[in-house]
C-alpha cells in the first residue's frame, strides 16, 4: 500500500469538494470548521457523512448551498458541481441558480423547518413556482402531485393545513416534498430522521431511497447514526474535526476501517457491545474548533497514537481504488497496529450477515 493522492472514482463525481477549508469569525476569533476536506459525491449514489456532532458535517453540507452563516466563509479549496466551482460564488444571484433548483436540502428537525404561519402547501408551492416558472394553478397542481408522491394523503386538505396540524413524520414528508418538488440533481439530507420516532425513521429513509431512484438524484446523507448509513448509503465519508479522514464504500469502511478514529467510532456502537463488558467509549472530547490543530486531530484521544501523529498531519493513503484514509498507520514505517477487538468482531459479523439471506435489504441496518 502506498500513499498516493486520490484514486480514480468509480463513476463521475457530480459534486466534489477539494481541499475545502471553511472558517468562521466568532467573537473576534477565527474558528476552523472545515479543514482541507475532500469529498466526492458521484452521480446517482448515496454518500453518507458520519461523525460526531461538531465535526463539521453540517457546515460542509451547507457550503454546497452557499448557506454558511454570515460570519463564515470558504477560505480555500473548491466545490466542483457540474464543472462549476461553487466555492467561488459570491453573489446571491449565482447561488439562486443552484440552490433548491439543482441542489436541495432537507433538515434535521421537521418540527421547526416549516414556517408555522404559512400553509404547508404554500411553502412547497413557492419553491416549485419559483424554479419551474409555473403559475399559481399549475404550481398548485404540481404540489398536490408531489404531496401524493411523498405519501401525504388527502393532499387537497393537507395543502391548506398549517405545519402544527401535521405529525412529525408528515412534516418531514412535507419538507422532502418541498425539496424534491423541483427535481434537484443533488439532495442533501442533514440528519433527516434524528428527530423522528424510530418507526417513522424507516419510512422516511425508504421514501428518500425511492425518490432517489425515481428522480435519479444523488443523495448526500449526513448522519451520526451508523445504522442509517448501513441501510441507505452506497459510500461513506467519516469526518473528524473538520476533516474527512476516511472515505470508501460502506462495506469497505465498515469491514475494513483504517483510521483509529473510525475504529473508535465503530467500537462505540452499542450494538457491538459484548454483554457483561463495559461499552467502549472514546476517551476525551473532540478538539475545540478555536484551537490550531497540529498533526492528527485525533491523536490526543487515541491511546495508540504514534509520535508522528502529534507533529505531522497524515496524508491521504489509498487503501483500494474506492477507499482512502488519512492515518499514519498506513505509512509503511508505522508499526502494524490491529483494529480493536470489537471492530474485528464487526467485520466477522458483517461477513456472516453478508452470507446470510437478508443482507441486501439492509432495512434493519445493524440492529
Amino acid at each position: 500500500m502506498t500513499a498516493i493522492t486520490r484514486g480514480a472514482p468509480e463513476g463521475p463525481a457530480i459534486l466534489e469538494a477539494r481541499e475545502l477549508s471553511i472558517g468562521f469569525t466568532l467573537r473576534g476569533r477565527r474558528l476552523a470548521a472545515v479543514r482541507r476536506a475532500d469529498l466526492s459525491l458521484r452521480q446517482g449514489e448515496t454518500l453518507a457523512i458520519v461523525g460526531e456532532s461538531g465535526s463539521g458535517k453540517s457546515v460542509l453540507a451547507k457550503s454546497f448551498l452557499g448557506m454558511l452563516d454570515k460570519n463564515g466563509r470558504v477560505e480555500s479549496g473548491s466545490i466542483m458541481f457540474q464543472g462549476q466551482d461553487l466555492a467561488r460564488y459570491t453573489s446571491e444571484k449565482e447561488w439562486l441558480a443552484i440552490r433548491g433548483k439543482r441542489i436541495a436540502m432537507i433538515f434535521q428537525d421537521p418540527m421547526t423547518a416549516l414556517n408555522p404561519l404559512k400553509t404547508v402547501g404554500e411553502q412547497i408551492r413557492e419553491a416549485a413556482a419559483l424554479h419551474r416558472g409555473l403559475d399559481r394553478a399549475a404550481s398548485r397542481h404540481a404540489v398536490l402531485e408531489t404531496l401524493a408522491r411523498v405519501g401525504i394523503g388527502e393532499s387537497e386538505l393537507r395543502y391548506r393545513q398549517y405545519p402544527h396540524e401535521f405529525s412529525g413524520g408528515m412534516r418531514q414528508r412535507a419538507v422532502i416534498a418541498a425539496a424534491v418538488a423541483c427535481k434537484p440533481e443533488v439532495l442533501i439530507c442533514d440528519e433527516p430522521t434524528t428527530a423522528l420516532d424510530v418507526t417513522v425513521q424507516a419510512q422516511i429513509l425508504d421514501l428518500i431511497k425511492s425518490l432517489q431512484a425515481d428522480l435519479g438524484m444523488s443523495v448526500l446523507f449526513i448522519t451520526h447514526d451508523l445504522g442509517v448509513v448501513a441501510s441507505v448509503a452506497d459510500r461513506v465519508a467519516v469526518m473528524y474535526s473538520g476533516q474527512v479522514i476516511e472515505e470508501g464504500r460502506v462495506d469497505e469502511v465498515f469491514y475494513d476501517p483504517r483510521c483509529p478514529y473510525t475504529w473508535a467510532l465503530l467500537a462505540s456502537l452499542p450494538q457491538l457491545g459484548v454483554r457483561g463488558e463495559d461499552l467502549y467509549s472514546i476517551k476525551g472530547t473532540p478538539p475545540s474548533a478555536f484551537k490550531t490543530i497540529v498533526g492528527d486531530a485525533f491523536a490526543p484521544r487515541n491511546p495508540g497514537a504514534l509520535k508522528v501523529d502529534f507533529e505531522y498531519e497524515p496524508p491521504v493513503f489509498q487503501v483500494s481504488p474506492s477507499h482512502w484514509a488519512r492515518t499514519w498507520l498506513l505509512d509503511p514505517r508505522a508499526p502494524a497496529i490491529e483494529a480493536p477487538e470489537t471492530v474485528r468482531r464487526l467485520r466477522e459479523r458483517m461477513k456472516r450477515r453478508e452470507s446470510g439471506a437478508s443482507a441486501a435489504s439492509g432495512g434493519g441496518g445493524l440492529a
Partner: protein, 310 residues
C-alpha cells in the same frame, strides 16, 4: 511539507504515551463565561470609549464635590458676575445668580447619577427577588399577575404627581415614585425567565434530588439572569435621569436648590435664547451619560448573551 513525508524519521513512528488529561483538554478552548463576555465587550472601541465616558463623568461627579470647595449654590452678590459666558475661573460660565456652572454641572452629575444608581439598584433588586419568587412559587402567580395588571394600568402621571404631594418633592420621593412602578416590569421579566428555566430539565432533575428552593433560585436560576439584570440596571439609569428631567419640567422634580442635571436642564432651557451655554453643558452631559449607559448596557447584554457564546 506534504510531499516530504517520505523523509520523516522512522523514530516518529513509535507509539506515543497516552495522556488522558490532555485528551480531555483538547475540547476546551481556554474559556470562561465572564472573561469571554469581558473580552468581547472591550474589543469594541465604542463600548470602551463610552464606558470611559461613564467612568470619567462618575469620577468627576463623585470626586469633584469632594476635592473642590466651590459651593454650587454660592450666589454672587455682584450682579456683574451674573450670566457670565465661559471664561477662566468659570470654565462653563455662570448662571443668573452668578453661580459657577462648572461646579453646578459636576454636583448635578453626582446627584443625577446617584439617583439613577439607587433607582437601578432598587428596581432591579426588588424586581429580581419578587420576580424570582413569582416565577418559582406557583401560588403567587395569580395575585402577582393581577398586581402587575393593576400597576400597569394605573397611569404613571398619577403616581408621579401624587407622590410629591403626599410625600413632598425630594430626592427620595422621586426614587419612590419611579421605583413604585419600575420594579414590576423587571419582576415580570425575571418571572418569565425563571419559569422557562424552572421547567428546564436540569432543574427538574435538581428538584427531584431534593434541592431546597432558595438554593435552586440562587444557584441555578439567578446566575443565568445576572447578565440580563446588569443590562436592565444599565438601562434604568438613563431612564431615571430622563424622568428627573421630565419631572422638573412639570414642576415636581427635585427641590430647585438641589443641584441636579434635571434642574440644570430646566433652568437652562428658560434662558436658552440668551445664554445658550447654560443649557448646553448640562444637556451635553445628560446626553453623554444617558447615551453611554444605554449603549454600554446594550453592548454588555450582547456580549453576555449566552446565545452569543459558543
Amino acid at each position: 511539507m506534504k510531499n516530504d513525508y517520505a523523509q520523516l524519521p522512522v523514530g516518529l513512528f513509535r507509539p506515543a504515551p497516552f495522556d488522558e488529561a490532555a485528551a480531555e483538554l483538547t475540547g476546551y478552548a481556554p474559556y470562561s463565561y465572564w472573561r469571554s463576555t469581558f473580552r468581547t465587550f472591550i474589543r469594541n472601541p465604542i463600548s470602551v470609549g463610552l464606558l470611559l465616558v461613564i467612568v470619567v463623568f462618575c469620577a468627576m461627579g463623585f470626586l469633584y464635590p469632594v476635592f473642590s470647595n466651590v459651593d454650587p449654590n454660592r450666589v454672587d452678590l455682584e450682579t456683574s458676575q451674573w450670566n457670565l459666558s465661559p471664561q477662566s475661573g468659570h470654565p462653563f460660565g455662570t448662571d443668573g445668580l452668578g453661580r459657577d456652572l462648572w461646579a453646578r454641572t459636576w454636583h448635578g452629575t453626582r446627584t443625577s447619577m446617584l439617583l439613577g444608581f439607587i433607582i437601578a439598584v432598587l428596581d432591579v433588586g426588588i424586581g429580581m427577588v419578587v420576580g424570582a419568587l413569582w416565577g418559582y412559587v406557583r401560588r403567587l402567580d395569580r395575585p402577582m399577575t393581577e398586581l402587575y395588571n393593576v400597576l400597569n394600568n394605573v397611569p404613571q402621571p398619577v403616581i408621579l404627581v401624587l407622590l410629591p404631594y403626599i410625600l413632598r418633592p425630594g430626592f427620595w420621593t422621586i426614587i419612590i415614585a419611579l421605583c413604585s412602578t419600575g420594579w414590576i416590569g423587571i419582576a415580570r421579566f425575571v418571572r418569565n425567565k425563571v419559569i422557562s428555566i424552572r421547567d428546564a430539565e436540569y432543574n427538574v432533575a435538581s428538584r427531584c434530588l431534593g434541592t431546597p428552593l432558595h438554593r435552586m433560585i440562587s444557584r441555578n436560576v439567578l446566575p443565568y439572569l445576572v447578565s440580563v439584570l446588569i443590562m436592565e440596571a444599565a438601562l434604568t439609569i438613563p431612564y431615571s435621569i430622563g424622568s428627573e428631567v421630565y419631572l422638573g419640567f412639570i414642576g415636581l422634580g427635585l427641590p430647585l436648590d438641589t443641584v441636579s442635571l434635571g434642574n440644570l436642564v430646566n433652568l437652562g432651557k428658560n434662558n436658552f435664547m440668551l445664554y445658550p451655554y447654560q443649557l448646553a453643558w448640562p444637556t451635553a452631559i445628560v446626553a453623554a451619560i444617558t447615551i453611554s449607559f444605554y449603549i454600554v448596557g446594550n453592548r454588555f447584554s450582547d456580549a453576555s448573551d449566552p446565545r452569543n457564546h459558543v
